[in-house]
């Protein structure tokens, strides 16, 4: 018996910059996870993943990643994905420094 499908986004790394990107509903790759397409249907997920993997000159390592619906777009489930929306916590570099709002919870990060 297969497990019930849980909502996903498609995430990858940009080929040139190497930073985290997410696939939008209108086929763009965004640096802001809030703009990602939240996929709630398994068959649609398979099609979107094929589409993502069909862009090897744009992104690397496209995969389906668990997410949930937030008030303003998808939010990661696991803290590893939250890190990818945030950048490292030891310096103000990466996504946070570039002005993207971190999504999901990074434990102990309230003070940053």
């Amino acid at each position: 018996m297969s497990r019930r499908f849980t909502p996903k986004v498609i995430s990858a790394n940009d080929l040139i910059e190497g930073d985290a990107v997410w696939l939008t509903e209108d086929d763009r790759w965004t640096r802001d996870m809030a703009q990602a397409e939240l996929i709630e249907d398994e068959a649609h997920a398979a099609i979107r993943l094929l589409f993502a993997k069909g862009q090897p000159s744009v992104v690397v390592g496209a995969e389906l990643v668990d997410a949930v619906a937030g008030a303003d777009g998808p939010v990661p489930v696991h803290f590893r994905e939250a890190f990818r929306t945030h950048g490292p916590t030891n310096y103000n570099l990466g996504k946070r420094a570039e002005g993207f709002r971190p999504r999901g919870h990074i434990p102990g990060n309230e003070a940053l």
Binding site: N13, I16, G18, D19, P88
Partner: protein, 556 residues
């Protein structure tokens, strides 16, 4: 120091040109990621959580001042102004862009450096004692041998596709500062009864998910037999090593599953066949390499000024108490520059700091620097009369933290702040522990204590050989930290013992504080170190400190 010869130069340049073309073909779509990935890894380029990461080898941990300046230039021009020195004497740049990497590699080649074989299933950067050619306790300088191994292993056609990565470390001192027993091959330079130079050869060490200490496969190998013997070990491993299971592919498992005796028999049989093929050309090359490691022109000068400043300036004295190591030449000291300022990221240096250290090396240290596996920088040859000046300059650059070998001199891998393999963060835990012990003002009283933190089971942070080891894991989607005690990476090597259940991030610093303060209560006297106390009393009292006396049988 070693200068590239024509062959080195041509090889490294041709590799850069080759990679430049590979990057172009990746970007224009003619290479897929599956095709490109092994090519970029061969050149030290990883893809991490937030960016690419370029791992540059610092062979046997030795850097010239001009090389250090070039690393600073690279950090500023193509990265974000800093670099991270690692536990295997590499430097990692955390933010390069793919299209810039060939230019970075060319800039490295300009100063005789490269990123070749810093990844992949091949012989990695050969590491050595960071006090080589300076330490008072040394038998011989291990670096010419390490350079010979670098030349021999680089692009070696038989050993580019080993079952798994392969790490060699070498020490020329009986006091092992190179963690030889946790390497695939550990080499210890020794002399036999006749006074001839050779090696004690250890094999099958490794950390990771199955930590093992290397065992002696040859207690005395004559110097001239080294390369054929290493070739025999690698040849045996290349055939016997398991390729069916990544987690059983390291040589430690090969030795363990076959037994040391059977493995040794295979190696010795191969060695007997191979030895005669070695004409001695390698020993001629070694002589040429050795000539390039001639000691600098040490000077004979009074050290009164140093003693005077030491007697009158307690802050300087505290720094000299812990950041200096005895030099083999009278009047000289080995200076360790701490990259572990309390609250800072272990092993990170800014481009400005790199330049300050390079300038210090030029002015006071014969142009030479070292990188230690403990993620600090060393000025190996400083005359004591120059120490006050060196210290004053270090202070201005925020590099004069007096904590070498103490609680806050923590090894930490990049962890989930950067690494795609990590299961938890390491850096913030190191920062918080260091900051907490600075508040407590007890680290000088506590004395020698090595805390090592890894953010996943692969153990880049050497937690298994930390007196206190901390392993960050993902427990049901939350960072959780497991504690091991009693590990030791020196000549008295030991794998740390796992304590009970792990601690959540917000509790691990308090747990470490209880451990260390508890040790102060039970140590025999101020001379008994944390490790000695642990060895004397065993884990039980320490479990009491960790868990408040409520013994828990099930490990996390």
């Amino acid at each position: 120091m070693y200068q590239y010869n024509e062959f080195d130069e041509a090889f490294v340049r041709s590799r850069v040109a080759q990679f430049r073309s590979q990057v172009e073909r990746r970007i224009d779509g003619s290479l897929t990621e599956d095709e490109f990935r092994p090519l970029r890894l061969m050149n030290g380029l990883y893809l991490q959580l937030h960016a690419y990461m370029l791992r540059v080898a610092i062979p046997y941990g030795t850097l010239s001042s001009s090389q250090m300046r070039q690393l600073a230039m690279i950090a500023e021009r193509w990265d974000k102004g800093y670099g991270h020195f690692t536990t295997r004497q590499n430097i990692q740049f955390n933010w390069p862009r793919l299209k810039d990497v060939p230019d970075i590699l060319d800039a490295l080649a300009d100063v005789g450096m490269h990123a070749i074989q810093t990844s992949g299933n091949c012989v990695r950067n050969v590491t050595a004692d960071h006090f080589a050619a300076a330490a008072a306790d040394e038998i011989a300088d291990p670096r010419p041998i390490a350079e010979l191994l670098r030349e021999w292993s680089t692009d070696h056609p038989e050993f580019q596709f080993l079952p798994r990565k392969f790490k060699i470390a070498i020490t020329g001192s009986p006091n092992d500062r190179a963690v030889t027993r946790s390497h695939d091959i550990g080499l210890r330079m020794v002399r036999n009864d006749a006074g001839e130079p050779g090696f004690e050869v250890l094999v099958g060490g490794g950390l990771g998910r199955t930590p093992m200490l290397a065992q002696v496969i040859r207690d005395f190998l004559p110097q001239a037999d080294l390369l054929p013997y290493i070739e025999a070990i690698l040849g045996a491993y290349n055939l016997k090593g398991r390729r069916d299971n990544k987690y059983k592919a390291r040589i430690k498992i090969t030795v363990f599953e076959n037994g040391l005796d059977a493995f040794k028999a295979d190696v010795e049989e191969r060695f007997a066949r191979l030895r005669s093929q070695w004409s001695g050309a390698d020993q001629e090359i070694l002589k040429g390499i050795e000539a390039q490691f001639a000691p600098p022109a040490f000077r004979n000068a009074p050290t009164d000024e140093y003693e005077t400043v030491r007697a009158t300036n307690p802050v300087f004295r505290a720094w000299t108490d812990v950041n200096l190591h005895p030099h083999k030449v009278d009047g000289y000291a080995i200076v360790s520059i701490s990259l572990k300022k309390h609250g800072a990221t272990p092993g990170d240096a800014t481009a400005d700091q790199m330049r300050v250290m390079a300038d210090l090396a030029d002015r006071y240290g014969h142009g030479e620097l070292r990188v230690s596996h403990e993620q600090n920088i060393i000025l190996p040859h400083v005359h004591k009369s120059d120490l006050p000046a060196v210290w004053a300059i270090l202070r201005e650059a925020d590099l004069a933290t007096a904590n070498i070998g103490l609680v806050s001199d923590i090894i930490a891998c990049p962890g989930m702040d950067y690494c795609a393999l990590a299961t938890a963060r390491s850096i913030p835990i190191a920062q918080q522990i260091a900051t907490r012990f600075e508040e407590l003002q007890v680290e000088h009283e506590v004395g020698p204590l090595k805390i090592k933190i890894s953010g996943c089971i692969n153990a880049c942070g050497h937690h298994h050989v930390g007196h206190i080891g901390i392993l960050g894991l993902d427990r049901a989607g939350v960072e959780n930290y497991q504690v091991t005690l009693g590990g030791d990476g020196t000549e008295t090597a030991a794998i740390g013992e796992k304590m009970g259940p792990g601690f959540p991030a917000e509790e691990i610093v308090g747990a470490i504080e209880r451990l260390v303060l508890g040790y102060l209560e039970i140590r025999r006297d101020a001379e008994e170190t944390f490790l000695e106390t642990f060895r004397r009393v065993g884990p039980e009292p320490f479990k009491g400190f960790l868990y408040g006396g409520e013994e828990t049988a099930d490990a996390a």
